[in-house]
C-alpha cells in the first residue's frame, strides 16, 4: 500500500525535478560556505566536518518538509487519503519514505564528495555516509509529524523548524558523534547502532503520530 | 542573625552581584507573569463588556423601532 504512495510521489517528484535539486544544492552550498567562514586551516576543517555536514543535512531535509503534504492538501488528494479504507499510517509512511528518497538519498550520495572538501579520511567518509544513511530517514519521519501539525498554517515553514528541531538533536548528536568516534579510533559501532535504534523506533511510532496529527489538522 | 551588618548582607561575601542578580530577575519574572495574567483578564473583560453593550444596544433598537 505504501509502495503505491512512494511510487506516486516519486513520479510527482520527477516531474517537478527542480524541487529535488534545490534541496541538494542548498546542502552543497551550506557545506561549502563553512570553510569560507572559518578559514582554510585543514585540521580545523577536518574536526568540524561531521558537524557541518550533519547540520546542513538537518536543515536541507527540514526545508522541504513543508512540501510533504501541502501539495496534496491544496488539491484535495489528502482528503481522499484520509477517507480511504487503507490505514492512514501506511500511507503516511509511504509519503515520509518518498520524502526521504527525494531529499535524503541525494544528500547521502553527495556527502562523500563534500567530505573530500574537508579532507576527511576514507573510513571517516564511510562512517559519515553510513550515519547519514541511517539518520536521514529518521529526519523525514519525525519531520512528517511537524509537517502534519502545521498543515495549512500561515508561517508554517518556520513553525515546523521550531517544533521539529528539538526532536532532531539526539540524531544530530549521534550522527556527528559517529564520525568523530571513528576518527578518534573508538569505533563508530555504538553510535551507528543507536541511530539504527532511533530509525526503528521512529519507523513504528512516527507514522501513527503523523496520522493522528493529520486527522486533527484536516478536521 | 549571621550577617554582621546590612552592608555585608548586600555584598553577600563578594558575590552580591550574582546572588542579587538572579533573585532580582526571579522577582521580575514572577511579577511580570502575574501582571501579564491579570492584564489578559482585564482586556478580556473589557472586550466582553463591549460586546455585551452592543448586543444590548441592538436589542433596545429593535424594541423601540
Amino acid at each position: 500500500m505504501s509502495l503505491w504512495v512512494i511510487q506516486r510521489d516519486l513520479l510527482l517528484a520527477m516531474r517537478r525535478r527542480s524541487d529535488v535539486l534545490t534541496t541538494l544544492f542548498f546542502f552543497i552550498i551550506v557545506v561549502s560556505l563553512f570553510p569560507l567562514g572559518v578559514g582554510p586551516e585543514i585540521n580545523i576543517l577536518r574536526t568540524m566536518a561531521p558537524g557541518v555536514v550533519w547540520v546542513a543535512a538537518l536543515l536541507a531535509s527540514m526545508l522541504s518538509l513543508g512540501r510533504m503534504f501541502s501539495s496534496d492538501y491544496l488539491d484535495g488528494t489528502l482528503e481522499q487519503m484520509l477517507l480511504s479504507p487503507q490505514s492512514l499510517s501506511m500511507l503516511v509512511l509511504g509519503k515520509a519514505l518518498a520524502h526521504w528518497l527525494v531529499t535524503g538519498v541525494p544528500l547521502v550520495l553527495m556527502s562523500p564528495v563534500l567530505g573530500i572538501q574537508y579532507d576527511l579520511s576514507a573510513d571517516a567518509l564511510l562512517v559519515l555516509t553510513a550515519s547519514l544513511l541511517l539518520g536521514t530517514p529518521v529526519l523525514s519521519l519525525i519531520g512528517a509529524i511537524g509537517a502534519a501539525l502545521t498543515l495549512g498554517l500561515r508561517g508554517g515553514g518556520v513553525l515546523v523548524s521550531l517544533l521539529v528541531l528539538p526532536l532532531y538533536i539526539p540524531i544530530l548528536i549521534f550522527g556527528a558523534g559517529a564520525v568523530e568516534a571513528s576518527a578518534a579510533g573508538l569505533g563508530a559501532g555504538a553510535h551507528l547502532s543507536l541511530l539504527g535504534a532511533f530509525l526503528l523506533a521512529s519507523l513504528v511510532l512516527a507514522p501513527w503520530a503523523t496520522a493522528v496529527s493529520l486527522r486533527i489538522s484536516m478536521e | 542573625m549571621i550577617w554582621a551588618s546590612w552592608s555585608d548582607f548586600f555584598s553577600m561575601g563578594g558575590y552580591g552581584f550574582y546572588v542579587w542578580g538572579s533573585y532580582l530577575v526571579s522577582v521580575a519574572c514572577i511579577a511580570g507573569e502575574i501582571a501579564l495574567v491579570f492584564n489578559r483578564k482585564r482586556t478580556l473583560l473589557k472586550h466582553l463588556s463591549l460586546i455585551h453593550e452592543s448586543t444590548k444596544q441592538e436589542k433596545r433598537d429593535e424594541t423601540t423601532s
Binding site: I145, L149, T150, L153, R154, G155, G156, L159, L162, L163, L165, P166, L167, I169, P170, I173, F174, G177, A181, L194, L205, A209, V212, S213, I216, S217, E219 | M1, I2, W3, F9, M12, G13, G14, Y15, Y18, V19, G21, S22, Y23, V25, S26, C29, I30, E33, I34, L36, V37, F38, R40, K41, L44, L45, L48, S49, I51, H52
Partner: protein
C-alpha cells in the same frame, strides 16, 4: 458521600471551584516564600567551599524542578484532553505552558549567574544545562504552535500531540546530551558534587520548591479561568456572570 469528580470537569463549575482555591494557594505561596527566603538568607550557614554564592541554589533548583514537572503535567493534561475530548483538560495544558517556560528561563538564568563565580563562565555545555535549554525550545514550540492555530479545538489537539511527542523525547534528549558531554570533554566540570547539604540548606530549598508549587498552581488557575472566559464567552453563564460583574 461519593464525591462526583466529574462535576468539576465542566468549565462552568470548575470556574467557581478555581475561584475559591486561588486565594488559598496565593496566601500559601506568599507565606512559604517568606519562610523559605528567610531560612535561605538568614539561617543557612555560609558554605565552606562556595562562600555566599551558593545561596542562588534556593531559587535555581526549585525553578529547574518546576520546569521539568510542569512539562510532564502539561503533557498529561494534554493527553487527557486529546483522549477524552475534555475541553477543560486542554485549557489546563495551555495554561501551564507559559508558567513552565518562565521557570525554565529562570533556571537557565540563575544557573548561568551561579556558574559565573563557580566555573568562571556564564554558560557551560553541561548535560543538564543543555537539556534545560532544549526544554525551553519545547515549551516555545508548544506555545507558538497553539498561537498559530485559530480554531481552539484544533489548537488544543495539535498542542497535545507535540506535548506528548516532546515528553517521550525528553529522556532520549537528556541521555544523548549526557553521552555527548561525557564523550567530548570528559566531565572536567562536574556539577554533581553540589555543596554538602547542611540541614538548613535542604529545608530552605524544599520550602522554596513548595512555595514555587503554590505560586505555579495559583497562576495557572487564574490563567485557566481567563481561558475559560475566553472560550465560553458566548455561553449563557458567562453572559450572566458578565451582567453581575458590571
Amino acid at each position: 458521600m461519593a464525591i462526583n469528580w466529574f462535576k468539576y470537569s465542566s468549565p462552568a463549575s470548575f470556574y467557581f471551584l478555581a475561584g475559591k482555591m486561588i486565594p488559598l494557594f496565593t496566601i500559601a505561596a506568599i507565606i512559604l516564600f517568606a519562610v523559605g527566603l528567610y531560612i535561605g538568607f538568614f539561617v543557612a550557614p555560609t558554605d565552606f567551599q562556595q562562600g555566599e554564592a551558593y545561596r542562588i541554589i534556593f531559587i535555581h533548583v526549585p525553578a529547574a524542578w518546576m520546569s521539568m514537572f510542569l512539562y510532564v503535567i502539561m503533557a498529561i493534561w494534554a493527553g487527557i484532553g486529546l483522549a477524552f475530548n475534555t475541553r477543560l483538560s486542554s485549557m489546563m495544558a495551555t495554561a501551564i505552558a507559559p508558567t513552565g517556560a518562565m521557570f525554565t528561563f529562570l533556571a537557565l538564568w540563575t544557573g548561568a549567574l551561579w556558574g559565573k563565580p563557580m566555573w568562571g563562565t556564564w554558560w557551560v555545555w553541561d548535560a543538564r544545562l543543555t537539556s534545560e535549554l532544549i526544554l525551553l525550545f519545547l515549551y516555545i514550540g508548544f506555545m507558538s504552535l497553539q498561537a498559530a492555530i485559530d480554531d481552539p479545538r484544533r489548537a488544543d489537539k495539535a498542542g497535545a500531540v507535540i506535548a506528548l511527542v516532546g515528553v517521550v523525547n525528553i529522556p532520549i534528549i537528556y541521555f544523548s546530551v549526557k553521552w555527548w558531554n561525557t564523550l567530548h570533554q570528559g566531565a572536567t566540570v562536574s556539577v554533581t558534587q553540589s555543596p554538602k547539604m547542611a540541614a538548613t540548606m535542604l529545608t530552605g530549598m524544599l520550602i522554596m520548591s513548595i512555595a514555587c508549587w503554590m505560586y505555579a498552581i495559583a497562576v495557572i488557575l487564574i490563567r485557566t479561568r481567563t481561558i475559560i472566559l475566553e472560550r465560553e464567552r458566548h455561553t449563557a453563564w458567562v453572559g450572566e456572570l458578565r451582567g453581575m460583574a458590571q
